[in-house]
């Protein structure tokens, strides 16, 4: 209480700037008068009486200072004074100030930008209530090498009854065709368990959600739509509830609208952009309960019971899995090792971007650190110029701690100004930066400059200020007064120690930039390898356009239900598109036939005459296409034949496989003529008629993924996981601006109710599949180049400084007969020595870092000698170039001038 009152009184004096100087002076005068009077009475002479009184009072100045300190807040006053002083000085040397502030602004701005991404994606909990209870259920069969296999309806019910979860919601994602609006539109759709929204803890903005306990088998005829769809297509109609929507020819009615900003926690951008949800029971025919083996639930999310940790839930889940395996040995053969994993939902969303993001944060942090080292170097150079000023102030009685505090205030102010400028730059370029980020980055929409990001920027600024302010401040604290003041007019101080500090700084800088350069080099090599990889197919001059065939629940309204109906449609589409301007070749395939742009959705494979290990057949990639597909994409036939128009709905089923498929399943035998079943249960025997070359159609990183192609004219429902999305491939001299409309007209001339969407050049698809890699590679490269530039500037500054220090010495050497070549060599060697020391430290760091980022590399070893040696040489070259200019200056020293100068 007393302390508070005293503080408040001081604060008031500080704030109002009130000084009780006058009062103190009067009181002192009074005091002295009294004492003098007393002394006079004691019999002293007037002069002596006054003198004794003053002596007795003590040091007036000390009393005044103490009084003053008591009255205000000395710490704050000093701080303000220092800050004012610093500002005045910065204004006086604008060159230094702008370089230092700009360096810090770029460093802090870039670090904060990357941090804002890390903050939004990795640090922030998901925006659902109690996000820590949310998990994704992933089912593996490690015994047969299958990951992420589907679940069956009875398994879902087992999980719901297990007592481990509060809710379990299966999800089937896909498309649906919304008709009845101006244009038929294809919309990302999810069929979900009825507890989906209750599980996520979200309430619809309008209307209601499905009853979580509604166990209707099959589909409900009710849908919930997204806020975006409501506003975009229905003009935010407040009477939307109860309205009918025609989706894939079925009538649904809208029962709810999701709140704005709601996103499905899906693994792909497409799933996250779902706009229509329907409740699904996963029972086709109530009279025929689905079997355990019919695994039709591709993915599921769940919320564990409150208070149950995920680890505990996992162990209970393991126990449940074990007991199920005992109970139904036929469905869970021991060999498959059926296992249910509970993955925290956030992890499943952002797990795969954690490493690239941490790499970026590390890289940008290194740039900031290098920036700090540079500014520290600048400050040191200034400190040497200011050595006399500081020495004089110290000689006049300024306390060392006070001087150190002043220097630290200076560097803090510099870095805070830099941080402020950095934030300003960041805010100004925010839109631009977000545009650079790849769309596949999850939670992109959540990135914002919020308080925690600003706090981070503040902390980064303060830390940076302390880091680069410490060296100069300590240097000043160790100043040797006598020497400095004696070294008349030279303006340099404690050169031995200071030069050592500067050398250490430059070595650090080099080591850090070497680490960054090597990381960037490895990423660049990985990217180039991938970019130049032999794709095995030709994406040039090709565009794809997609359409969606309705897949109604009411099979009577399905006009494409039979293979014959669909084949007829496909033929008409081919015909219509062939007449488009510039089009030379047309092919049609299923969703899985677009290279590098589909979810991998392997189907079970049964080989004739081959026993299935366990109960789980191997899973392979599969798609269907028309005969022209292989030629259009330039994938060569190796053996047998391709599809022909005779392979129609009435002919025996045929398939083409790639070489990897042949190698995997018939390593010694001839695959031609062999029969396989691929797809859902009930698929028919299909004969292999041809083998094509391997192509990287599934993933650009993998060369030989077994894949089977069936003829699209023979497609039946059983084959395709009920995917009804068709892709039209167009090849020729296309006009990318006109193709979307032209293809739409062509398709709708066959059926005006079909949506046409997703027109894209195949080359864009290929480069798009590298977008995340390209993004991290480009960013790290940018940071590395910045680091290189800063390191070069650092070595230039330091060598220049050393040269100017040694001008006198060089003069003597020249006078004594040293050649200019020797001088040049001497200085260059100095620069090179610094670079070598830095490289030695940096190589060790780079080895550690490159092993940490092994998962991000492709086709290049983490100890790739080419990168390591190349980068080191580049850095050495930069060091030499940076030392060359000051070395030239040293060479041209005129001994006469240098010696006279002293």
């Amino acid at each position: 209480m007393r302390l508070l009152r005293r503080f408040l009184a001081r604060l008031k004096n500080f704030a109002t700037g009130r000084r009780d100087d006058q009062r103190l002076r009067e009181e002192m005068e009074e005091h002295l008068a009294w004492q003098t009077e007393e002394n006079l009475r004691a019999g002293m002479g007037p002069a002596e009486a006054r003198r004794q009184a003053v002596l007795k009072f003590g040091a007036v100045q000390a009393v005044r200072e103490k009084y003053h300190a008591e009255g205000g807040l000395p710490l704050m006053e000093n701080l303000l004074q220092d800050a004012r002083y610093t500002l005045r000085m910065l204004v006086r040397s604008p060159g230094f100030a702008s370089i230092a502030i700009l360096t810090m602004a770029l460093g802090i701005g870039a670090t904060t930008a990357i941090f804002s991404v890390v903050d939004a994606t990795l640090l922030h909990p998901l925006s659902y209530p109690e996000p820590n209870e949310l998990v994704r259920i992933e089912v593996d069969q490690p015994g047969v090498g299958a990951r992420n296999v589907s679940m069956s309806q009875p398994e879902w019910k087992d999980l719901e009854r297990s007592g481990i979860f509060e809710f379990v919601a299966p999800i089937v994602s896909g498309s649906t065709n919304l008709t009845g609006t101006a244009q038929p539109v294809r919309i990302a759709y999810e069929g979900v368990g009825p507890s989906y929204l209750a599980l996520l803890g979200v309430k619809p903005e309008l209307g209601r959600w499905f009853d979580p306990h509604d166990q209707t088998p099959g589909f409900t005829l009710e849908v919930v739509i997204s806020d975006g769809l409501w506003k975009r297509v229905f003009g935010a109609d407040p009477r939307i509830l109860g309205k009918n929507l025609r989706l894939d020819n079925d009538l649904f009615h809208v029962i709810g609208v999701m709140p704005p900003g709601f996103h499905d926690p899906g693994r792909t951008a497409e799933e996250r952009n779902t706009e229509i949800w329907a409740a699904v029971g996963f029972v086709r025919d109530p009279a025929q309960p689905p079997s355990r083996g019919t695994r039709g639930i591709p993915q599921a999310i769940a919320r564990v019971k409150p208070g149950l940790s995920i680890a505990v839930a996992q162990s209970q889940m393991d126990a449940l899995a074990a007991s199920l395996q005992k109970q139904f040995p036929a469905d869970y053969p021991a060999v498959s090792g059926w296992k249910v994993r509970l993955v925290p939902l956030k992890e499943s969303l952002v797990g795969n971007v954690r490493q690239p993001l941490m790499l970026l944060l590390g890289a940008v942090g290194l740039v900031l650190l290098i920036g700090c080292v540079n500014v520290a170097n600048l400050l040191l150079a200034r400190a040497s110029a200011r050595g006399r000023e500081i020495a004089v102030r110290q000689a006049l009685g300024a306390a060392k701690s006070r001087l150190v505090r002043q220097l630290l205030t200076e560097s803090l102010l510099l870095s805070l100004l830099g941080g402020l400028a950095g934030i300003a730059i960041l805010l100004a370029t925010k839109g631009l930066l977000l545009g650079v980020a790849p769309d596949s980055l999850p939670r992109l929409s959540e990135i914002s400059i919020n308080w925690s990001v600003l706090l981070f920027a503040l902390i980064a600024s303060v830390a940076a200020g302390v880091i680069f302010g410490l060296a100069p401040a300590m240097q000043a604290g160790r100043l040797d007064l006598t020497n400095v003041l004696k070294a008349e007019g030279r303006g340099t101080t404690g050169s031995g120690k200071q030069a050592r500090t500067r050398r250490i700084l430059v070595v650090t800088e080099f080591a850090l930039s070497l680490v960054l350069m090597i990381a960037a080099g490895l990423l660049l090599r990985s990217f180039c390898d991938l970019f130049n990889v032999q794709l095995g197919f030709d994406p040039q001059n090709t565009m794809t356009v997609r359409t969606w065939l309705p897949n109604p629940n009411d099979s009577k309204t399905d006009i494409y239900g039979s293979a014959a109906q669909e084949a007829q449609f496909v033929r008409e589409i081919l015909l219509q598109n062939k007449t488009l301007p510039g089009v030379n070749e047309v092919a049609v395939g299923t969703r899985e036939s677009i290279p590098l742009n589909h979810n991998r959705w392997p189907v079970p494979l049964i080989l004739e005459g081959r026993e299935i290990r366990g109960n789980q057949p191997p899973l392979v990639e599969a798609s269907s296409a028309t005969p022209e597909y292989f030629h259009l994409l330039g994938i060569p036939l190796l053996r047998g034949r391709l599809f022909s128009d005779q392979d129609n709905e009435n002919a025996p089923l045929v398939a083409v496989i790639n070489q990897a498929f042949a190698r995997t399943y018939w390593p010694d035998g001839d695959p031609l003529g062999k029969r396989v079943k691929s797809g859902r249960r009930g698929a028919s025997w299909t004969t292999v008629v041809g083998v094509i070359a391997d192509a990287r159609t599934e993933s650009i990183e993998e060369n030989s993924v077994p894949k089977i192609y069936k003829c699209l004219f023979q497609q039946s429902d059983q084959d395709t996981n009920s995917h009804k999305e068709l892709v039209i491939f167009l090849r020729g001299r296309l006009d990318p601006a006109r193709i979307p409309d032209e293809a739409r007209v062509a398709v709708q001339s066959v059926n005006p109710e079909l949506p046409v969407f997703g027109a894209v050049a195949l080359t864009d698809v290929v480069s798009g599949s590298l977008s995340q890699r390209r993004f991290s590679m480009e960013m790290v490269l940018l940071f590395a180049l910045t680091a290189l530039l800063l390191a070069g500037l650092g070595i230039y500054g330091t060598i220049s400084y050393l040269v100017s220090e040694r001008t006198h010495e060089i003069g003597i050497r020249l006078a004594l007969g040293a050649t200019r070549g020797t001088i040049l060599q001497m200085i260059l060697r100095q620069g090179l020595e610094l670079a070598i020391a830095g490289a030695a430290v940096g190589l060790v760091g780079a080895l550690i870092v490159s092993h940490l980022m092994i998962a991000l590399l492709y086709g290049v070893s983490p100890t790739d000698p080419l990168t390591f040696i190349g980068v080191t040489l580049v850095l050495a070259a930069v060091a030499l170039a940076a030392s060359y200019i000051p070395a030239l200056r040293a060479m041209r020293v005129d001994p006469l001038v240098a010696l006279r100068y002293e």
């Binding site: 009152r5 002192m28 009074e30 003590g58 040091a59 103490k66 008591e70």
Partner: protein
């Protein structure tokens, strides 16, 4: 020697409070004189250090001050103990006596008492 003044710095405030308690309203010189009389030569030099202490006590609210006229009609600043100052004095006195008693007991202890 240095140690001694440090301790005295801390106690100067208490002396001021006690002086004002005993003598009522008083100006700075009067307080200094009084402390000097009682304590001998502690304040014989550096009488000036009294003034920062007075300011501190005033900011804490233990004393208040105002300008007034002295006995020989000179302008002087008079200090007076406030109510919270009196409370402070009481508690400080108690603390001090306690400390002093403990220290005294320690000094009284002889080696044989501890065995």
């Amino acid at each position: 020697m240095k140690q001694k003044t440090d301790v005295l710095q801390g106690t100067l405030g208490l002396m001021v409070l006690k002086t004002l308690d005993v003598l009522g309203t008083l100006h700075g010189y009067g307080i200094a004189r009084r402390i000097e009389q009682i304590s001998g030569d502690i304040l014989a030099v550096n009488q000036g250090t009294l003034y920062p202490v007075l300011l501190k006590l005033e900011q804490e609210g233990a004393i208040s001050s105002e300008w007034g006229a002295s006995e020989n009609n000179r302008r002087a600043r008079f200090y007076r103990l406030t109510r919270s100052g009196r409370k402070l004095l009481d508690s400080e006195t108690r603390d001090w006596e306690q400390t002093a008693a403990i220290i005294a007991r320690f000094f009284a202890v002889k080696a044989e008492d501890l065995t």
